[in-house]
Amino acid sequence: MGMRRRSGGFLLRVNPILCDGFGHCHELAPELVTTDEWGYPIISPTPVPLANMSALESARYAVRGCPRQALRIERLSEPA
């Protein structure tokens, strides 16, 4: 089980309608999220391997820390 979960990739995704653009996610996961000139998060569209534990950890921080609950982690089955 543990092995299977490590094998895919993940994407951090934002619901732009909920997002308020204060950019907490950028502070919580700077390696995954940058912000545009208006403060809204820009998330790279290339999947991150699940094996990258530190990136996954910060993605979880960002999801938990988002005041509007606009973020979620999308698991992708094919290897990243």
């Binding site: 995704r13 619901n15 732009p16 309608i17 909920l18 997002c19 653009g21 545009d36 000139e37 208006w38 403060g39 809204y40 820009i42 569209p45 979620r72 999308e74």
Partner: protein, 424 residues
């Protein structure tokens, strides 16, 4: 079986809508078909509302939903200011659209049909109302027909915004995590199809897939309605067989046949250089240029007009039409409109504006809940490519002659509160 000539959808046009009796005289009675979905599949019909998605595939997706109650929504909102085809169709053959909606309802097992027409179009609303009454009087057992009249906005015709309005009276697009996404009114799944698409279904139900494929190309069978505006004697809606050379389409509509460029697919579409005017009017032939026929809109830009200035006016209006739910769309589009303005209007720093414009397009793309900002980005990028010559002269500080002209070609509704556009 009927003969295979144009017009198909606009047959029997007489300046006012055909009554039910006249309609059945012209097109024959719309008998139910047991194998309607197979027929639709074989016809190869693609949606005429902009996305060109295979109609049969969408219908199958909805048929496979296990719900008691389902809806068919006929989308005649026509948010594009340059589009007139749906209102022309509903003012000519409203019953054909309703026939198609009933066929679709029988495929997916829907008990309700909602026809959506913008309330800013009272004449069309009247035509549809009368057509629905006429049908009610015959008391056919079938799905319940209802007319809905949301207010007209560009994004109100976007399918998730339309369903949102029917569900909750809010014309705002919804965030969809995956596609295809099944839209719902309450708990009932909804099949949304454009009015023209429904009319084609109404004909396929009667005459079959082989008849339908008698016009058009293998990949884009059938005919399509086109709204031609811009450098044209008068704005025209005409029906063409898909695959007709673009120049022929311009000729038939009385437009300038030697223009500088044409905008295809709507205000979120792409400019096409006049060098490609001999290409057939069909998605597969225009794909190498990145162009799709979208909702059948052609805006003709004559030589001597400034494509950048025209695009700027459209982008400004599109920015104002943003539903302002998503930051990148609400802030990004006005910023792009401003950059284009500075580029077009002999400002102090056209080079800086151009660079900001290119960067902002890359930043905004793909970050809205709906495709509204992506459409604007697509149009702006194609303008920078197709009017590269104009851009160069603007950058050199010598705006082209057309940019100071007061004659406009792309019709843009006047902004009620233009100052509202400034967000920074």
């Amino acid at each position: 079986m009927t003969s295979n000539t144009l017009p198909r959808l606009l047959r029997g046009a007489q300046g006012r809508p055909l009554t039910l009796a006249q309609h059945e005289e012209t097109f024959a009675f719309a008998a139910r078909r047991a194998s309607m979905l197979e027929e639709l599949d074989a016809s190869g019909l693609r949606g005429r509302g902009g996305a060109s998605f295979p109609t049969a595939r969408k219908a199958r997706l909805l048929r496979d939903q296990r719900n008691h109650s389902k809806f068919v929504v006929v989308n005649a909102m026509e948010g594009e200011p340059a589009s007139h085809k749906d209102r022309t169709l509903l003012s000519t053959n409203p019953h054909l659209v309703l026939d198609g909606a009933e066929y679709l309802a029988s495929i997916i097992g829907a008990k309700n049909i909602a026809v959506c027409v913008a309330r800013d179009n009272p004449a069309v609303v009247n035509h549809v109302e009368r057509a629905i009454h006429e049908r009610a009087r015959r008391s056919l057992r079938g799905p319940a027909l209802e007319l809905h009249t949301p207010p007209w906005r560009y994004v109100a015709g976007e399918e998730s915004a339309l369903v949102h309005w029917l569900d909750d009276n809010k014309s705002l697009p919804q965030y969809r995590t995956k596609r295809p996404h099944i839209l719902k009114i309450g708990h009932s799944p909804v099949l949304v199809d454009n009015a023209e698409t429904c009319a084609h279904v109404g004909l396929i139900g009667r005459y079959g897939a082989d008849w339908f494929r008698g016009l058009g190309t293998d990949e884009s069978p059938g005919s399509a309605l086109v709204s031609v505006t811009g450098a044209v004697r008068r704005p025209t809606v005409l029906e063409v067989a898909l695959g007709t050379p673009l120049r022929k389409v311009l000729e038939a509509s009385g437009a300038d046949t030697d223009p500088q460029a044409v905008l295809l697919g709507g205000y979120g579409g792409r400019w096409l250089d006049a060098a490609h005017l001999d290409a057939p009017y069909a998605n597969e032939a225009l794909a190498p240029q990145g162009v799709s026929i979208g909702a059948g809109i052609i805006v003709v830009l004559p030589r001597g007009a400034c494509g950048i200035a025209e695009s700027q006016r459209m982008v400004k209006w599109m920015a104002n039409e943003s539903a302002r739910q998503c930051g990148p769309c609400a802030f990004g589009l006005p910023a792009i409109a401003e950059d284009l303005y500075q580029l077009a209007s002999n400002s102090r720093d056209p080079r800086g504006a151009h660079q900001r414009l290119v960067e902002r397009c890359a930043v905004i793309e793909g970050r809205g809940a709906c495709a509204h900002p992506d459409g604007v980005v697509r149009m702006v990028r194609s303008a920078l490519e197709v009017f590269a010559g104009d851009v160069a002269s603007h950058l050199g500080g010598v705006p082209c002659a057309g940019s100071s002209s007061v004659q406009h070609f792309a019709s843009v509704p006047t902004l009620e509160r233009a100052e509202e556009l400034v967000w920074e």
